[in-house]
Each structure stands twice: as C-alpha cells, then as structure tokens.
Amino acid sequence: MPANSPLPGYTFDQDSARYRSSETGRFVARADILGLLEATTVAAEKQISTLTTAVMEGRIAPSVWQEQMRSEVKNQVIQQVALGSGGFDRISQQSYGRAGADLRELYAKISGTARDIAEGKISAAQAQARANEYAGHARSHFYSAEREKVQPSAPNKVFIERRLLGGGGATCGDCVNFYDAGWQPFNVLPEPGTDSVCRGNCRCSLVRKEVEASEVGEWIGTKK
C-alpha cells in the first residue's frame, strides 16, 4: 500500500507492544484489536458455514471445499498471528513455527472431514460443527503472538492475566475453571481455544494488567 494512501496508517510501538495511529498519534485501544479478532473470526465462520452447506448439498465438490477451507484457515491463522505480532513484518520465527505445525494438524482434520463428506459418513450438523471449530482455531494464535511481544515497562513491574468468559450460556466447564482462577501470573492461563473442550468454538478473551512485582500476591486468584 503506497505511503500516500487515503487509508490511515499505523506504527507499532515495540516498547508497549501497541499499535499507534500515524494520523492522530494515539494508541489503538486493545478493545478495538479484540473487536477485529472477533469480527474477522465471525466472518470466516460464516463463510465456512456457507461452503459447508454447499458441499453437503452437492453444489461444490469435496475437493473444492477442501481447498477453500485450506485457504480460509491459512489466511485466518496468518492474519491473527500478524494482529498479535504488530503486523505482517513482525511475525517471529517462533510464531511461524507454531502456525505451520498447527496448520498441518488442521489440514489433516479437514482432509478427514472431506473424506467423511465424500463417503456420506457424517450429517450436515456434524460437518458444520467440525468446520466451525476449524474456523475459530486461529484465535489462539493471536494471543500466543501477542504474549511474545509484551514486555513490562520497568524491572519492578510484571504482567498478570485473567480469562474473561465470552461464550454466554454455552461456555464450557474448562473455560469456567480458567475464569474462576482469577488473575494469574503471565503465561500461566492457556490461550482461549486451547486446553478446553470448546477448542476453536471458544469465545473467551484474555485481559492483561501491569502491576508492581511486590504486589502480585495481592492479585493472584482474585477477580478484582
């Protein structure tokens, strides 16, 4: 995109690990970043659902569904890694490695589901449930990439994290347990979408706070 684009540009502040608008000089609110994460995931889920309905009704071939799924999940994973990393140019080798390994697992699952569809072994509801999980899988990559970038602002400060529930009445038991753990030291809670039965369907988020290292004990386990 050219420098004189009419669309607003951004920089990524390495120290605070936050995006900053080049136009206003203001940081982009994390709520907006999480909003983008949610909106792009929901859009991918919708598209994948449409494709899955079409393959189950015989309007597209399983091979074409498979390729569309492959492209969709790959784009999603790369975009969410980039969103958490500070842009496409800041994706670390570690994040690339994690994304590549995860995509290989997803491709195996997509191939298995394509085979089941081709052989008429699964219902439309089962196909939709599986596809929906694949679509939401990229979400965890945002949180992993973001964790790599954040650094405390001073030696006497540390980050603590807390899980917030996002699944409404459908929240799984694992996520409720993570929520009940309250504030925890940085990197202790799993990224939403991992280590829980809801997997790619997880709608939780992870919030972070920087506190004095000497005060961490007052926060751990609380929800204040």
């Binding site: 995109m1 684009s5 669309l7 607003p8 540009g9 951004y10 920089t11 990524f12 995006y19 080049s22 982009v28 907006d32 983008l36 909106a39 792009t40 929901v42 859009a43 598209q47 449409t50 494709l51 079409a54 309007r59 597209i60 071939a61 399983p62 091979s63 074409v64 498979q66 390729e67 569309q68 492959r70 492209s71 790959k74 784009n75 790369i78 975009q79 980039a82 969103l83 500070g86 842009g87 496409f88 140019d89 800041r90 690339y96 994304a99 590549g100 995509l103 290989r104 491709y107 195996a108 997509i110 191939s111 394509a114 085979r115 081709a118």
Partner: protein, 87 residues
C-alpha cells in the same frame, strides 16, 4: 473425464463458488489448484486430497494472500485496513 469434461466441471465449480459469495479471482485460483493437484484419471467430484498435498510453506506468497484477504474483508473497517502493515 476428458480434458473438455474437466474444463466444464471446473467452470461449474467456479460458478458455484461465485454464487456462494467467493470472489471470481479466488474461485478461479481455488478450482485451478484442485485441477493442478488432481491425479491423472481421478474423478474431481469424489477425489479427496491427502493432508500432505494441502500443506504449503508459510512463505511470502502465503503472506501476500493473507494480506489481500485482510484488505478485501468486509469484516475489517476501512480505518483498520492498513493496521497489519504497521511501520
């Protein structure tokens, strides 16, 4: 299938994807990938690719595709289109 039948099949799949809201360029690319990787003599209506065939490196081409998809996505508001190209 004969080459002519394969071509006809590809056209029908592209049209079906476009009808589902996939843009024409992506629909053509997607069906082209299927044809490029389809083993000789395989029926494209029932063939399923092995996961190893689907795996391609996360290289510049993959990043470029993800960037195009981000810019084209209606889920990304105009003010955030350039966010992932942050300097």
């Amino acid at each position: 299938m004969t080459p002519e039948q394969l071509q006809k099949w590809a056209e029908s799949q592209i049209q079906a994807l476009i009808a589902l809201g996939v843009d024409a360029i992506d629909a053509t690319r997607s069906v082209g990938w299927v044809l490029d990787h389809l083993p000789l003599g395989a029926d494209p209506n029932s063939y399923v690719f092995a996961d190893i065939t689907m795996d391609e490196p996360l290289d510049d081409k993959a990043i470029a595709a993800a960037r195009i998809d981000w810019y084209a996505s209606p889920a990304v508001p105009a003010k955030y289109k350039r966010l992932l190209d942050a300097r």
